[in-house]
Symmetry: C2
Subunit: 169 residues, 2 copies
């Protein structure tokens, strides 16, 4: 008899997860029909969706408008905070490095994904080159990257360091 409640709890838990991922997938499918890329994401807090996003890169002329980034921006705006550590993200596909970075900065507590980056590469969305590039030393990356004016740039950091009323994050 002890096992039943645990099984029920797990069943209900999985039902919840399935519901949110289904929502993210529906967004991704509808977005294809609306001229966008096949990606959707929802952010959930206390069993309520607080942000939604789809890939609008080409439609909005915004290279950063991936589903996850858009959902994070919407959730943060809706909740009035840059800290989403009490939220989970359900994304129809494994996040790219940009979105993964955004997820870490937003401090999301769990990531659920549907398709893998291998699935994405098969239909033309290959982000492996970005993973590879991030791994390389700066002077070996495909985009030429050069440091200039460090002695001036550091002035802003000094200003920040000496500021009393700064909001750290």
């Amino acid at each position: 008899m002890k096992k039943a409640p645990s099984c029920l709890a797990k069943f209900l838990f999985d039902m919840e997860k399935t519901k949110w991922m289904t929502e993210a997938i529906e967004l991704s499918k509808n977005n294809v029909n609306n001229g966008g890329g096949p990606f959707g994401a929802v952010i959930v807090r206390n069993n309520v969706i607080v942000g939604r996003g789809v890939n609008r890169v080409t439609v909005n002329c915004d290279p950063t408008a991936h589903a996850e980034v858009t959902a994070i921006r919407e959730a943060s705006k809706n909740l009035g905070t840059f800290d989403l550590s009490d939220c989970e993200i359900y994304t129809s596909c494994e996040p790219c490095p940009m979105c993964l970075g955004a997820i870490y900065w937003a401090r999301l507590k769990t990531i659920y994904y549907g398709n893998t980056k291998v699935d994405a590469a098969k239909i033309g969305f290959d982000d492996q080159f970005i993973y590879d590039e991030i791994d390389r030393p700066i002077n070996e990356r495909s985009i030429p990257t050069k440091q200039i004016l460090p002695e001036k740039a550091i002035e802003a950091f000094k200003l920040w360091d000496e500021k009393d009323d700064k909001i750290e994050y």
Copy 2:
């Protein structure tokens, strides 16, 4: 005599770079005084600034509002394209993985930066943990990451694959 024009060309070339980086640094310093983080960036195309950005994460409640992401969004909007391959970015600090991802997606042709990520870590903006996390296999990352419903998620990719009028990027 042959050397003079080459030296002059290099001098003018360096003057240009210095001008744009100085602009990015000015943005970063002004932003500290305006309640934001000590980061600024400009995007330049044919010797004209086409996008500016500063870090407004805490002020705008947007974890993705780093200087580079914001500048890319503005430049893309201004130019009406998601492809910035004829543009350069001048950023007051070495980009974090999120911004680096955005830079690759936007296809910027050159990155100039002022401060390093080591400088940034010293004043409390440490992004090394994100570099480390991205490198790890999914099941070893600090944010629990789980795949669910792949059999449903793939439907969006099939829709995309079969679509005739899709805009690929």
